[in-house]
Each structure stands twice: as structure tokens, then as C-alpha cells.
Symmetry: C2
Subunit: 200 residues, 2 copies
DNA sequence: GGGGTCATGTAATAGGTTACATGATTCT
DNA sequence: AGAATCATGTAACCTATTACATGACCCC
């Protein structure tokens, strides 16, 4: 039903999306990604771009469109979306929007094993985390208001609004967790300590 | 400051954690992961376990402890945590708990390029998503109440509670997004349509 | 005593990241 | 005119996933 996709790297989605507007060469794609701030949404390293474009080409989703040059710079290969690529872009987006997929946030993994740290330290660390989360929150809201001020329509800020929602949820969870740990009614402390003294 | 870690795969964290309780061989680690339901927190495929254990061994974080066998089954190598491994486990957890790291949820990427789909379809897809999210929510709450009933302390369910928080945040965001799209005061429709008719 | 499943891995392949290379422009 | 940065990639290396192999044990 799923995972039939030839290219799974989300960077491929970005490439398909940009190429759906006009043919471009890989370097220009990189520039576009940088300038549009897509690095916040998609993990992007300059090397992986060429790899992904290569994969897309082998999969028949993009094809060489022309080869050009500007000034005396090296020649570059311009790629264009194929019909299959256009279909793949739509289909991929449909899947991503319509069906949530199981994810693995780092904090989930950390919480699963956090009892290996002494509880006092965990409280401190969580408090430090709240601090960073606040700064991240300010960064996002700043970015949103700046963009709106510069005339960017809300439609193109949805991903940051979503991220903000996740961040607030995390903030709340961490806050409540700290409170629970400090609450004497919480009987974890003994449990946790046991776990630590017990050396079997 | 970061990324000095020799092993970055979160599965390595799980291995360090289990080995901090007692020496085990890779297959037993796999069994423990399965039985403890850690697959929900950490991406785990049977092949990667051996790879990660190999990496940990090369990094000096675990070492061969003995080689044993049970019945006439093939011999297996039992690994134990080294002192460096114990330090690494603590240090890694400290980092994960104390410092949120930038993440890339699939929906963030999707939202960044969602305007490549026609708006009507997006509404439908989002509605379908809500449905799946409800089911996932029921699954998590079921798992939590079952575990509590079986006597598992809350301390060992934190990761599911966190996940629940994220899920609720996503649910709310998607709901509001659907509502905004349906609201006639939202002027995206034209913008979106323009983007679609415009073929430049 | 033959067919499944469990136990224990190895090998092949594909994916992704990092480092490096090379010539053009631009800055001071 | 030399230094820094931009443009355009290539190559090497490490990570991760998938497929496969082999013998025990277990069930009927």
C-alpha cells in the first residue's frame, strides 16, 4: 500500500515542488531552498541535493531539460519535471497530508530510557529545556510576524504555525512533568532511586 | 559542541540502556526491545541491531563479555557495557533531555509545499487525517490504561503521554486549519487558485 | 519425521554526509 | 593583486535497510 516510492527523501519532494514551477539546475535549487527558508522544514545538505536529483532522474520523475551556462561559470544541467514526476508530487503530498505516519521524536526515545539518570538531574535538565523552548518559540513567532509584515500570505506559513503548536504542546508537557516530579504525592522517587541502587 | 558522538543512531541509546542492567547478546536485546514495546519509541529493524552493536564495540562503549550458548543453538557473543559506555549513556541522555534539537516531522514538509494540491482536495485529506489521528489517540490511551492496570508505573509511560500531547496538538491544528479553509473570510482560495492556474 | 518457526547472524545494496576540488567573480 | 566567496559539482566514506543463510527446536 505504501513505500512503493522510488525516492523517499523529503528533499525529493522539495525538488519536485520547485521543478513544478520551472526547470532549474541543482545549484539553483539549492539557492531557492536556502532563500525560501526551506531548510527549517527539510533536512538539506548540499551534497544530498545532487544525490536526490540523480535518484529522481533514474526514477524518471525528472529529466535533463537543457544544459546551459552563465558567464564563464562551469556548465550546468537543467532538469525539468516529467509527467510522472508531476503525478508523483501530487500523490506524495496526498499521502503526507492524508495519512499521519508514525514518527520518532528524539524526546520520545529519551523519555523511554530517562530512568537511567538520577531524578534530580532530570528536573534540572527539563528546566533548562524549557528555557531553550522559550527561545525557539520567540524565534518562530518572530519569523511569522516578520513574514506577515513583509506581505507573505499566511498560507505559506502554515508549517511554522504547526511547528508552534507542537512546541507549545511540548512546553506544557515538560512543565507538567517537572511539577509532577516535585510533587510529594508522586511516588516515583523511591521507584527511581530503587532502580538506581539496585545493581542487578 | 555537539555531534562528537561516535554512534548517533538512537537504537544505540536503547542498547546502552539495556546493557546498563546486565550483559546481553544482540538477539536477546532484540527480544527485549520487542517485548518492552520500544519499537514505538525507536526505529528498530533486526539487521540494524548488529550494526549498532558493532559500532558501539568499535567505539569502545561496549565490549565482548563472554561467548555462550543455550542448548545446541549457535554460539552467541554476549556484550557488556564498558565504563566509557556508562558515561556515554548518561551524557547522551543529558543532551537529549536538556536540549531540544530541531526536528523534521513529515507534516511540516508537507505543509511547506501543500499549495501544489488544489484546496478542495486538501480539505478532504485533512478530514481523513483527523480520522486516523482519532484512532491513533485511542490506541495510545488504550495502551496507557492497560499498562497502568497491569501495574506498570507511570514513570515508564512518559513517552506515551508525551506522544499523546503532540498528537492532540496536531489534531487541534488540523481542525483549525480545516475551519480556516472553509471560512469565507479566508482569502487563500483565490491565492491558491491563482497559483494553480498560473503556469509560468 | 517433515514443516514451521525461532535463534543467530552475514552479505549485498542502497542511502546519505562530509570533505574536497576547481575555476569565476567580487571585494578591498 | 591577493583574499574571500560563489558556483558547480565529484569522490570517499560511513549508515542503514533488505535479503538471505543455516541449523535447532517444537508440533502433529
Amino acid at each position: 500500500m505504501t513505500d512503493k516510492r522510488k525516492v523517499t527523501n523529503p528533499l525529493g519532494l522539495a525538488v519536485l515542488s520547485y521543478l513544478s514551477q520551472e526547470p532549474m539546475h541543482p545549484y539553483a535549487l539549492g539557492r531557492a531552498l536556502r532563500e525560501h527558508g526551506d531548510a527549517r522544514s527539510i533536512k538539506y545538505s548540499p551534497g544530498s541535493l545532487y544525490m536526490v536529483v540523480g535518484q529522481l532522474a533514474r526514477a524518471g520523475l525528472v529529466a535533463e531539460h537543457a544544459t546551459g551556462r552563465e558567464g564563464q561559470r562551469p556548465e550546468h544541467t537543467v532538469y525539468a519535471l516529467t509527467d510522472a514526476g508531476r503525478r508523483e508530487l501530487r500523490d506524495w503530498l496526498r499521502e503526507l497530508v492524508g495519512q499521519p505516519r508514525h514518527e520518532y521524536p528524539a524526546l520520545v526515545a529519551a523519555l523511554a530510557f530517562v530512568s537511567a539518570l538520577p531524578p534530580g538531574e532530570v528536573s534540572e535538565l527539563l528546566t533548562a529545556r524549557l528555557d531553550v523552548l522559550s527561545r525557539q518559540r520567540a524565534e518562530i513567532t518572530g519569523l511569522i510576524t516578520d513574514s506577515l509584515a513583509r506581505g507573505v500570505p499566511e498560507l505559506f506559513l502554515l508549517e511554522e504555525e504547526y511547528r508552534l503548536g507542537l512546541l507549545d504542546a511540548e512546553y506544557g508537557f515538560v512543565q507538567r512533568l517537572i511539577a509532577r516530579m516535585a510533587d510529594p504525592a508522586t511516588n516515583w522517587i523511591t521507584l527511581w532511586a530503587d532502580h538506581h541502587n539496585d545493581n542487578r
